[in-house]
Each structure stands twice: as C-alpha cells, then as structure tokens.
Subunit: 228 residues, 2 copies
DNA sequence: GTCTATAGCAGGATAGAC
DNA sequence: GTCTATCCTGCTATAGAC
C-alpha cells in the first residue's frame, strides 16, 4: 500500500527531464549536461543508468512514449466501442478527439506529439517503436473502421479510401503540429473550447470530403509540371 | 550575354551546400565543418563570407529560399489568372499543383519544404522571412480568393472559412511532408502520375469539405477532456 | 548509486600569412 | 578571397573515490 514507489528515483527524474527536453529541442539540440542540470544531478548519472545519450533517448520512447501511445489508442478504441450508432462522423470525431483532446494533459500531449512527429520526420532508431508498433496499427484500424461504415453501393476505390484516411489524419496532425501557425492566423489559443470547435470542424469538413470523393466528378484538366 | 555569372564563386558554393545540408539535417544537425567540406573549402571561409553560422543559415533563407517561394507564389497567381471560370475547385487545384508539382524540380521542392516546415515547427530568426513575408500573404490570398468564390446566400462564418483554408493547406503540406508515410501506406512513388491523382483527390476532398462546412449539422456531442 | 576529476574530441570562431 | 594555425568552449564518456 504505502510502498514508496521509486518514482522519484534519480533514474526517473532523468527520464522525465530528458523527455521534456528532447521533445522541445530534439536529440541534437539537447546536451546531457542540460538534462542532468534539469534533473539536478551529475553528468555521470546518465551514463550509469542508461549507458549513453542515445540509449537514454530510446528509453524515453520505450518507457514513457509507448505507454502513453497505448493509452491514446485505448481512448480511441473505447470511444468507438461506446457508440451504438457508429458512423464515419463518429469515427472521425473519435480520432480527432483522441489526438487533440484525448486522455492526456495539455503538456503531456504536446510532448507526445513533438516526439512522434520528430521521429516520423527524421527517423532515428526510435522510429521502429513509433511507426511499427503504434502509428501503423492505429492507422489501419482507423481506415478499416471507416471503410466498413462508408455508404454501400458506390464502392469506393481502394486508393481513394487510403487518400481520404491520410487526408483526415494529415489534417489532425497538422492542427496539432502547426499550432504556432494556426494561432497566428486565427488569433486563438488552444484552449478546450477552441479545440472542441476544431474537432467539430474536422468532422464536418472530413465528412463532406468523404462525400466529395464518392460523388464528385472533376471538370478540371490536369496539368504538366508547369514552366519555370 | 556571356557574362560569366558569379555562380560558381565560393560564396555561392557554400550557400548551396549549406542549403542542402540544413534542409536535410536542420541547423543543429549540421556543423560548419561539414558544410565547408561539402563546398570543398576551408572552415574560415564561412566566417569570412557570412560572419557566423547563424548568419549563413539566415542567408540561405534570404538568398535562396525566398526567391524560390516567390516563384511558387507567382506560379499560383498565374494559374489563377489564366482561369476564365474560376471556382473553389480551380483555386484549390492551383494551390495543390503549385505545392506538389509547381515550377520546381523535385529536389528543389523537397529542400524548399524541408526548410519551410522546420521553421514553422521550431522557429528561429528565419521564421520572420518564412511566415511574415511568404506564408502569411500567400495564405491570405488563397483564403480571400476562396471566400469570394463560395456560393452566396449562406454566409460562411469567418472562423469556419479560416479553418477550412487551414485544412486544405494542411493537407497539401502533409502530403508533401509525410512522403515517407504516404509511400509506405499506398505503396506508390511520387511520380507525376501519382501526384496528379493526389491533386485530384485533394480537390475533390476539399470541395466536398467546403460543402460540408456549409451544409452539415453535427449530431454528435462534444466531450470533456476524458478520463486518464 | 552518486559524486569528482579528467580524458579526449568536435564544435565555432579568429588572427594573420599569402 | 582563401588558407593555416590556433584558441577556447562545450560535449560525451570513463575511471575511480565515497
């Protein structure tokens, strides 16, 4: 009961501070000294507990990032399971909410996405954890669920379905990731009210989009690469 | 005519190599020594020509990135001007084409976006160039053009319009930026045919989305942050 | 486990020869 | 303008005391 959890051990403190700093500035942008200063301990402690910097980075993903990703995935799943009348709209909402609001605190979510996007963008060894164990399965689940709920009759080509799922995910990631730009343009902070409006927009826009790819014919001509 | 352009001066060579490397690995990820090695010259040359590393980075944006952004913007403008029956679809197509196909070579475009996304994501001093001089005006132009072409009658709230324009831009940026993920999922390389299909999808999906935000009512409930 | 001390190297920047 | 030589700082990592 009163088992004094080893939560405040130096090892954990280092891990926590490392996560914050790596998320904020990236692997290259952070020095071990910075981390140990933040964790209020000596440089050597990192090498004792994690061997080297690279390993500390990986451990952040294994010990901190992964469990949180699982919680997020669970949140999405539960959200789906709780719906008695699932629809594309409700699935998209579940996705957007999991990412934009989800079960994580604002800070936690921000760190989480920073770390993820960094890995997706310029992969290190940690990509294996991020892409293969998390993003891949999540995306497949999302796409499959969505496909099953699409209005029958007009079969939606496989590629269009993939494009659409990517568009939706891309939008969600963009709104998370380009916060600075979004705030700059809309003039709004990312508080809960704003995020709810954002989720509502994403759902509306995406559902319209899904209709679009089923019904819309393009009257536009394709173009050549264009001149310089 | 045969003016031997100073294009192969050491200064230019450094600038070129710096751009490639900065785009690839980011400011922190590249050392001056690496750049000068690639430009086949001495370390001191950077300090002679640019003062310091930070300034070299800024100069890459001012001297290389900015002109290219202007070309891109021009490409978008000409594309709009050449339309005798402009519509939301044709504007979105112009945007998507400018970014995905545009007047740049594949390599050039890739570098261009890498540099841009880096700045949007973790801004340095160069953000001023990127956001204020380029992205801002471009985005405003896109949004204004789009707004004017929206079906009249049902006025679209200002915020929804901004959200939609952001969604479209976000999608375009995502398809450019998450190439690895997109290729992984669709199994397609980014050749011209694929990019044309992508542009077509973006247009269809976005037009549907625009319809969606005008006509769609949400029957879904908003949610609290959710439990941990 | 946590510290001090230090090795050993790579980074940015500058002075000054040519 | 371009190079050589060098300074100094800050980095990772390790050895060894406590």
């Amino acid at each position: 009961m009163t088992q004094v959890d080893d939560t405040d051990s130096l090892r954990e403190r280092i891990l926590s501070q490392a996560e914050v700093l790596f998320a904020d500035k990236g692997y290259q942008g952070v020095s071990v000294r910075e981390i140990t200063a933040a964790a209020d301990c000596n440089v050597a402690a990192v090498n004792y507990h994690f061997g080297n910097k690279q390993n500390l980075y990986l451990e952040v993903f294994r010990a901190r990032w992964l469990p949180r990703a699982k919680r997020l995935h669970e949140c999405f799943r539960r959200s789906l399971a709780s719906q008695d009348a699932p629809s594309p709209a409700s699935v998209i909402q579940a996705l957007a909410q999991a990412f934009l609001i989800g079960p994580l605190s604002d800070e936690e979510r921000h760190r989480h996405h920073q770390l993820m996007v960094r890995e997706l963008w310029e992969p290190t060894e940690a990509l294996e954890v991020v892409a293969d164990q998390v993003m891949g399965p999540f995306f497949r689940e999302f796409t499959d669920t969505l496909r099953l709920l699409m209005p029958k009759g007009i079969g939606v080509e496989e590629e269009r379905m993939a494009f659409s799922a990517l568009s939706i995910l891309g939008m969600v990631l963009y709104f998370n990731f380009a916060r600075v730009a979004v705030t700059r343009i809309t003039g709004c902070e990312y508080d809960l009210a704003f995020k709810n409006r954002l989720v509502a927009h994403i759902v509306r826009f995406s559902c319209g989009g899904l209709d679009g790819i089923r019904t819309r014919r393009l009257g536009l001509c394709q173009q050549d690469p264009g001149d310089a």
